[in-house]
Symmetry: C2
Subunit: 388 residues, 2 copies
Amino acid sequence: MNTELSQVQLRELLDAARNIQPWMTRIRHRLHQVPEPAFREFETVGFVAAELTELDAALVRRVGDTGIVAELDSRLPGPVVALRADMDALAVEEKTGAAYASRHPGWAHSCGHDGHMACLLGACRVLREIGLPAGKVRLLFQPAEEQGNGAKLMIEQGALEPLPAAIFSLHGWPGLDVGTIASRGGTVMAASDVWAVRLVGRGGHGARPQEANSPILGLPGLIEALADMTGDELVVSPCVVEAGQAPNVIPDAAVVRGTMRTLSPEGRTRALEEMARVVARACGPLGLTHQITLDQHTPPVANDAALHERLVGTARGMGLDFALLSGPSMGSEDFGFYLEKCPGVMFRLGVGKTCPSLHNSAFDFCDEALPAGAAMLAAMALEALRSS
Amino acid sequence: MNTELSQVQLRELLDAARNIQPWMTRIRHRLHQVPEPAFREFETVGFVAAELTELDAALVRRVGDTGIVAELDSRLPGPVVALRADMDALAVEEKTGAAYASRHPGWAHSCGHDGHMACLLGACRVLREIGLPAGKVRLLFQPAEEQGNGAKLMIEQGALEPLPAAIFSLHGWPGLDVGTIASRGGTVMAASDVWAVRLVGRGGHGARPQEANSPILGLPGLIEALADMTGDELVVSPCVVEAGQAPNVIPDAAVVRGTMRTLSPEGRTRALEEMARVVARACGPLGLTHQITLDQHTPPVANDAALHERLVGTARGMGLDFALLSGPSMGSEDFGFYLEKCPGVMFRLGVGKTCPSLHNSAFDFCDEALPAGAAMLAAMALEALRSS
């Protein structure tokens, strides 16, 4: 087994996490009630900061209005290992029926970030009880994972300074049995870009279309050409179409926006070149001009191969089920920004085979999964401290 | 000549209108400065009402907040003849450079309703000077021609009670020499409907289009099928497309809205049946459901044949150029609502060959056209009173 901790130590660690399941559950329910938008996680981070202080974790940095970096310090020389949780919620009207459901109308923790935070606080408590062999464990509570690339802001404002030896994060995952760990080496989630194609023609009166060159008539070819780009390792998904305001005025311009998912920088470059070609081919013959803009680039989440091997051994050593992912998800996660800077692993934590899907208004993180999540984060941190 | 007034009388009438051109010009410039949105023509109607009072026209009815009906009364038995002007302006940033340009940012009289009102007040003054042979001339200043079918509200609130023997209105028209009158018997402007087609599929995450049934992928076939309906006597013009909000979320629904122009009730019925067919054909194979809704129906402007013949004679008798229109415009005008109730004519008044087009931010009504407009309205009213 390629782990630093013995099977006995790993099981003790899981037991320690199981002992604090009621405490983690209370934390999660408390956070679940106050879901907040990206970069406005005020109540959330206030609660998290108070818990960290209780756990003797030092608050070493604030990032923006709501991001925090805390550290558990062994006061012995050694490396830094980082663990990360995200804090923002979704603009979803919660329909879980839970007693601890959202008190913020129109907002819900439908992506389970409440569970991620509870797991990370649990890992912190377990690590504090067990003690660190050397170095420091840095705890990153980041804003704005869903929108806004909060990870990028964290890094820009020093969350990876000095650079950790490794970084780990988890994501609750429906469709996996509770407590099952799943991952793979290499790319586990896609790179994401928001693209927009703006067509410009010549507007006019709706009653005299022959006098205009309507950009709306360019939409059919454009939408089909873009959607047809989707293939095995590429998704181009038109999600927004906007043209015109008055029903009797042909507008000058039309815009299609959407997401593009790629699995490597090379794949992304090829896809952008292809997009430029198909858009030009769709618009040129109609005499429409076009402009392609890109926004909100998120890199792929590329797991370190060796650390992933250790993750497999750690999960199995703990007695948890491990599922090797056959390929990457085309979903994206801004954890990829951290992995551009230092090696690490993002793994999935099963929250139940029949759990509603992520972002669904009925989704609720499974409390029984909290111990496995907390124990895995703590174990990966300890092993990275020992091996560095 | 099929007119009631002699050529001498008609020329005297035009002379009377020419004498008050400076007064009409001041009125138009004053109104031009205060363009107001549909149903909010407060300053406009306040000014018009004050002028009507000066002219001894009795205010007999208010319609909504801003419509007014006034009457010149001969105090002799006889019919009622109605003359109508519209008062609303457009959401246009004026670029005429005129000294009397709009003082209301973002609003302008780019459809020339300031000129229509000045002509109608001019007709009122000429008729007062000449005197009515019998009956009454009813003056309709209506709100909301551009949007909202103000004519419909006028009728609902009694503007045609008791029913006039005839009704007349004019529209300033670029591309015609100043003071030229143009019209035709029968349909002169199209019927208009605002239609909306809503496609409903199954939304989902932008990264996993294979799990959704995107209504956006139904837009190409839908837009092409709708636009292809346009033919000689039918315009179907998609002007608004709305789908989705977030660039990574495939929406459940997409909407295309636009205008339909038809030339007769039968043509309209056929077009609506055809629309239902082509929409079903475009959406069915994709498993998308659809819903077609109609709104803001405006009937065609159908000129009375005999009154139109009299209009031709009147214009020529006055010494004005007359241009017979070869066919209807696909534009629409809510004057058609009045013509559903009583016979009448809408005619075009030339405002200059090189005048910028209607609704263009550089359009400005031509003051030199005011006398011809006022005289024609007054003459048509007098002749209708005499002949009834």
